[in-house]
Amino acid sequence: MTRALDGEEVARRINEAHPGAASEWEGGDVWVEPEALPAVAAFLKETPDLDFAFLVSISAVDYVEYFELVYHLLSMRLNRNVTIKTRCYGRDEPSVPSVVGVWRGAELQEREVWDLMGVKFEGHPNMKRILLWEDFPGHPLRKDFLRSAH
């Protein structure tokens, strides 16, 4: 049965390898500083007894003061999962480093987050809109995106 790793344990291990990267934890979630994200991702993937080689999903949530990116990770060999979150403050041009170098599965998911939520990923090879057309004004999933009819 897949076991969700304890957030405190994971945060401790991350801070051992990259001090200061994990800022808070609660239950099974760990919050990570955005700049440290690629390093933490590589650490989680390559450490043999963590082995989070499978990126399940990248989600973005618009809590009006900040955008929160949620990374669900899975280790198939050890049958464990963990949730890494990161906060990105500011509404004009928010951006976060990309994890495409660590997990190729992030490629299309990060493009979707840019398209619908407006969070750019630095280092992504093809940062273009994917579901909407290039000239679409705005980012629909944001809370302040006006809909046409009420």
Partner: protein, 394 residues
């Protein structure tokens, strides 16, 4: 009643010096008969194919127009005639307009020389087989004209594949036919029919199989219908044609199996021979129908091959078999024929059959294995160590 007979009939009525009228009238009547009969047969065949395919696919096929959908071809023709004939602005108008016609005409020409009944429509043609092979090659040109005239990338893809494939399959087809010519001792189609005391399909099974396979490829039918693979190119060389031009392409495409079946019947299944009192024409129709049904059956059942696999099959599979067939038949005829007259009795033909059947089966089995296409369908699968579903997570 063939062309010669019509010509003489009309000449008798005319004063001297006006024979050319008789020629023209006889020619016109003959063409009228051939074209209308063939188009009528093709229309009936389209109905038959659609209903038979429907039954293969556990569905009904056309059943709205007329009893059992018999007026469906009429509905199709009416629809196509009333559609707008769109010619792309950048198209090469001459090639574009002529392509359907060039595809259609060879079918009529071949039928005109086939011996249905005592003689063919056009009378005795002593180089019948040569004429048939030459004329069927013209359809390749038509496909390329259609694609070139359309100025369309999709069409060019289809046409290039088509030309490569058609040229490759002419060779085994012609070689299979040489076996027939050697056994019959003549190029004339009527002689070939008369010589078949035993049908050549029994005497040279390998030649028959090669001919039918190559004919499937020549007609761009499954499993060689990659030229117009709807699931790949959305139409291939036909993409830009609409209205009656498309209609003529379809007509030509559905006429080809009828022509090829008739040809196969003449060459391999002893044409109009059969047991009295049933007339020869009925036997001919029955045998042609059997070949036609087989072609349809293959279309309903098998998937299609890729172009490089098609080419490999032609050059590495059919060509050696066709050469083998030709040499073996030539050897047998040389040994068995009467030294003075060069004739083969039906007993000789049966002896040839007895030798050729094991040869055919053996050579096909050997070729299938030697071509190295034995793919193991079930390989044992070992789970990758990268994932372990039963790990307890600790």
């Amino acid at each position: 009643m063939d062309f010669g007979g019509l010509h003489r009939l009309f000449t008798d009525f005319l004063p001297a010096g006006w024979e050319w009228i008789a020629f023209a009238v006889a020619g016109f009547l003959l063409s009228f008969a051939v074209i209308n009969v063939m188009i009528g047969l093709t229309a009936v065949y389209t109905w038959f194919e659609r209903r038979a395919l429907g039954r293969f696919q556990t569905r009904l096929g056309p059943n709205r127009w007329g009893p059992f959908g018999l007026f469906q071809p009429l509905a199709d023709v009416l629809k196509l005639i009333t559609k707008e004939d769109v010619i792309p602005a950048v198209a090469d108008k001459i090639a574009f307009t002529l392509a359907p016609i060039v595809l259609l005409v060879p079918g009529f020409l071949v039928v005109a020389v086939l011996p249905v009944g005592a003689e063919s429509f056009l009378g005795e043609l002593n180089v019948g087989i040569l004429f048939v092979i030459g004329v069927t090659g013209v359809s390749t040109l038509a496909i390329f004209m259609g694609a070139w005239g359309s100025r369309n990338k999709y069409a060019m893809f289809g046409a290039l594949r088509a030309v490569a494939m058609l040229i490759s399959y002419e060779v085994p087809m012609a070689l299979a036919l040489t076996g027939v010519v050697i056994t019959a001792g003549s190029l004339a189609l009527l002689d070939i029919v008369t010589e078949q005391a035993v049908p050549f399909a029994l005497v040279q099974p390998l030649g028959f199989i090669i001919f039918v396979t190559a004919a499937l490829a020549e007609m761009n039918r499954t499993p060689f219908d990659l030229v117009e693979g709807e699931s790949e190119l959305a139409g291939g060389y036909i993409t830009e044609f609409s209205g009656m031009k498309f209609g003529i392409f379809q007509l030509a495409e559905f006429m080809a199996p009828i022509v090829m079946s008739a040809l196969a019947t003449v060459l391999f299944l002893a044409g109009t021979k059969g047991w009295a009192p049933v007339p020869g024409l009925v036997w001919f129709a029955l045998k042609a129908f059997l070949v036609l049904f087989f072609l349809l059956w293959v279309r309903a059942t098998w998937p299609r091959l890729r172009i490089d696999q098609v080419m490999a099959f032609a050059w590495k599979g059919l060509l050696p078999l066709a050469l083998l067939n030709m040499f073996m038949v030539a050897l047998q005829v040389q040994l068995l024929q009467d030294p003075t007259t060069g004739e083969l009795t039906s007993g000789d033909l049966w002896r040839m059959a007895a030798f050729n059947w094991p040869l055919a089966i053996g050579s096909i089995v050997v070729a299938a294995n030697v071509l190295g296409q034995r793919r193991i369908s079930r390989r044992p699968a070992a789970p990758s160590p990268l994932a372990n579903m039963t790990a307890e997570g600790d």
